[in-house]
C-alpha cells in the first residue's frame, strides 16, 4: 500500500506541479488570444448581440484612415525610440565593461528609471515637455532654440514619447548587454590587440558580432513593448484616447481601446485590429531575426 502510494506520488506529482501554469494560461492567455480571431469575424458589440460578417471588419479596417494613422504612428515611434535606445545601451554597456570604481552604484543608477511606472513616466515627462514652462524648452532656450510645442506635431510628439521610452529602458538593455559581454572570452581581445586592432575596431569586430543573439533578444522585447505603447502617449494627451487634437500620436493600442471600450464598444472591430497588431509584432520580430541572421553571415 505504502509503495503504491509512493509510486502514485512520483507519477502524478510532476503533472500536478506544472498544471497551474497550463490551466491558467489556457483560460486567461491562449483562449482570449484565439477568441480574438473569432470575435473579429463578427459584428459584435457591448450588448452581446453578434452576427457573423466574415472579413468585413478587416475590409473596414483597411479603409479606415484612423487605423493607418495609428499604425504609422506606432511604427514611427517604435523606430524613433528603439534604434537610439539599443545603440545607446550598447555604448553604455561597453563603458561599464571596464575596470572602474563605483561600478555597482553606476549600474543601480542606470537601472533606476526602469522601476518607475509608465504612468509616472507619462506624467513627469508630460510636464518636462510642457509648452510654456517645460524644462525641455528651457534647456533648448539656453541653446538659443525657440520653444517647441511638443504635442502639436508628429515629429515633436513622437520624439517626446521616444524620450520617455528610452529613459525607462536604455539602462535595462545596457545591463543585458553587459551580462553578455562578460561571457566573451578574453583571448579573443588579446589576439586582436596583438594584431594591432584598436578598441573601436575590437568593439565592432568582436563585441557586437558576438552579442548578436542578445541584440536580437532585446530587439524582440523592444518590438513587443513598442507595438503596444499605450500609457505614455495617453498621458501626454492628458488622458484623451485620440492622442492629440489631430491624432498626431495615437497608437494602435489607443485606437483599439477607443473603438472597443469607449466610442461604440465595437468588440468585433477592436478584435480585428488586435489581430492585425499581433501579426505586425510577428512580422517585426521576424524582420529582426532576419536582420540579425543576415548580419552574422
Amino acid at each position: 500500500m505504502r509503495q503504491r502510494l509512493s509510486r502514485l506520488d512520483t507519477t502524478l506529482s510532476p503533472y500536478l506541479y506544472v498544471a497551474p501554469f497550463f490551466l491558467l494560461f489556457a483560460v486567461f492567455g491562449l483562449f482570449p488570444l484565439l477568441y480574438t480571431a473569432w470575435v473579429s469575424l463578427h459584428d459584435w458589440n457591448l450588448l452581446g448581440g453578434h452576427t457573423f460578417v466574415g472579413l468585413d471588419n478587416y475590409g473596414a479596417l483597411f479603409a479606415d484612415p484612423h487605423f493607418w494613422n495609428a499604425t504609422g504612428n506606432t511604427v514611427g515611434m517604435f523606430a524613433l525610440s528603439t534604434v537610439p535606445q539599443l545603440l545607446l545601451a550598447l555604448g553604455i554597456a561597453n563603458a561599464l565593461h571596464k575596470r572602474m570604481r563605483a561600478r555597482t552604484a553606476v549600474r543601480l543608477g542606470i537601472l533606476l528609471p526602469n522601476i518607475t511606472s509608465v504612468a509616472a513616466v507619462g506624467i513627469v515627462f508630460s510636464l518636462l515637455f510642457a509648452n510654456n514652462f517645460g524644462l525641455a524648452n528651457w534647456v533648448l532656450g539656453l541653446a538659443g532654440v525657440d520653444p517647441v510645442n511638443w504635442t502639436a506635431e508628429k515629429w515633436s510628439s513622437w520624439s517626446a514619447i521616444a524620450v520617455m521610452v528610452d529613459w525607462r529602458w536604455t539602462g535595462w538593455n545596457a545591463l543585458i548587454y553587459l551580462a553578455a559581454m562578460q561571457t566573451i572570452p578574453a583571448d579573443l581581445y588579446e589576439a586582436a590587440a596583438i594584431e594591432g586592432a584598436s578598441a573601436w575596431r575590437q568593439f565592432w569586430r568582436i563585441t557586437v558580432p558576438l552579442l548578436r543573439p542578445t541584440i536580437l533578444f532585446t530587439a524582440v522585447i523592444a518590438t513587443i513593448g513598442g507595438m503596444q505603447l499605450f500609457a505614455e502617449p495617453l498621458l501626454l494627451a492628458s488622458g484623451r484616447i485620440e492622442g492629440g487634437s489631430l491624432r498626431q500620436f495615437q497608437t494602435l493600442s489607443m485606437y483599439i481601446y477607443e473603438r472597443a471600450f469607449s466610442r461604440d464598444f465595437d468588440y468585433g472591430y477592436g478584435s480585428a485590429m488586435a489581430w492585425v497588431l499581433f501579426l505586425l509584432i510577428l512580422v517585426a520580430s521576424m524582420v529582426n531575426f532576419a536582420l540579425v541572421r543576415r548580419g552574422s553571415r
Partner: protein, 295 residues
C-alpha cells in the same frame, strides 16, 4: 531565448580566468559619460520630488526650481482629500494585488520549475518548449475576449480581475527551472527519496531552500511589474476601485493644472519601489543580468 546560468556570479576582476581579468581601465571620458547617464537617469525622479514639494506657482519660475520646497504636506493633504483619485485606497489595492500576484507566481513557478528541472515525466521536454513559446506571445492582445470573460464571471471592476489572470507566468517557470537545474544537486533529491520523503516534502525541505535567492529576485521583479501595470487595469477596473496607477491616471487627466498635487501622488507612488530598489537593488541587477546571459 534566455538561459539562466544558475548561481554563477558575473565575473569580477582578479577572479580566475575570464574576460573581466584583463579589462581596460576606464578612462576619465568613460567616467564622464557614465556620470552623465546616471544623472539623466536620476533627474526626472529627483524633479518629481521637487515639483511635489513646491506650490503650483513655482512651475512658472524662470529658471525652473531645482531645489525642494516646503509644500509637500500641503500638496499631499490635497491629494488625500481628493475623492476622484481615491489615492490611499489605490495604494492599498496595489499593495494587495502586487503581494498576492508575486507570492503566487513564486509558488507556482518554483513548483513547476522544480518539476521540469528535477522530475522525470512523460512529455516534459515538449511542455517546457510550450512554456518558452508562451513567453514570446503578446497575450495582452487577447484583451477584448479577456474583458468579455471578466464580465461573464462578474469580475469586471473587482480586484480578482487584475489578480487571477496573472497568478503564474511562463517567465517565472522558466527562470526557476534554469535555476533549479543548476542549484539543486540530484544526489540531494535521491537521498531524500531514499529516506522516504514524498515529492512535496522534497520540494518544501530541499528544493525551496535552495531556490531562495532566485525566488526572491522573481518575487521582486513580479512585485514591481504588477505594481506598475497599466493597460489591463485601465480596461477592466472602475474609478471606484483603482490601483495606484489608476489613481495617478485619474489625477493626471482631471487635475492636470494642479501639478503639485499630481506630482505629490506620483512621488508617493514611487516611494515603495524606491525602497525596494535601495534595499534589494544589487539582487535585482544580479537577477536581470544572470537571466539574460546566453540566449
Amino acid at each position: 531565448m534566455s538561459r539562466w546560468v544558475g548561481n554563477e556570479k558575473p565575473a569580477r576582476p582578479g577572479r580566475g580566468v575570464g574576460a573581466a581579468t584583463r579589462l581596460w581601465q576606464a578612462s576619465p571620458l568613460t567616467y564622464l559619460a557614465l556620470v552623465l547617464a546616471v544623472v539623466l537617469s536620476a533627474f526626472p525622479i529627483y524633479w518629481t520630488f521637487i515639483v511635489a514639494s513646491r506650490s503650483n506657482d513655482a512651475i512658472n519660475d524662470v529658471p525652473p526650481p531645482l531645489l525642494p520646497g516646503g509644500h509637500l504636506v500641503d500638496n499631499a493633504s490635497r491629494l488625500l482629500a481628493n475623492d476622484d483619485a481615491l489615492f490611499l485606497y489605490g495604494l492599498a489595492n496595489s499593495l494587495v494585488v502586487s503581494l498576492v500576484v508575486a507570492s503566487s507566481v513564486v509558488l507556482f513557478s518554483t513548483l513547476a520549475g522544480f518539476a521540469f528541472a528535477k522530475l522525470r515525466f512523460r512529455g516534459r521536454h515538449a511542455l517546457l518548449l510550450v512554456i518558452v513559446a508562451t513567453m514570446m506571445v503578446p497575450t495582452q492582445l487577447g484583451l477584448i475576449p479577456l474583458y468579455m470573460l471578466m464580465v461573464e464571471l462578474g469580475w469586471q471592476g473587482t480586484l480578482q480581475a487584475v489578480i487571477v489572470p496573472f497568478l503564474v507566468t511562463g517567465f517565472g517557470v522558466f527562470m526557476m527551472r534554469q535555476y533549479a537545474d543548476a542549484a539543486v544537486p540530484d544526489q540531494l533529491i535521491e537521498a531524500a527519496r531514499v529516506d522516504g520523503c514524498s515529492t512535496i516534502r522534497i520540494y518544501w525541505n530541499v528544493v525551496l531552500p535552495a531556490l531562495r535567492p532566485a525566488a526572491a529576485v522573481l518575487f521582486l521583479l513580479q512585485f514591481m511589474q504588477t505594481w506598475n501595470e497599466f493597460l489591463w487595469s485601465f480596461v477592466v477596473l472602475d474609478p471606484d476601485t483603482p490601483t495606484v496607477q489608476m489613481s495617478l491616471k485619474a489625477l493626471a487627466t482631471a487635475y492636470y493644472t494642479d501639478y503639485s498635487q499630481v506630482f505629490a501622488g506620483t512621488a508617493i507612488a514611487t516611494v515603495p519601489l524606491l525602497l525596494v530598489f535601495v534595499v534589494f537593488g544589487r539582487q535585482i541587477i544580479g537577477g536581470i543580468m544572470e537571466g539574460a546571459v546566453k540566449q
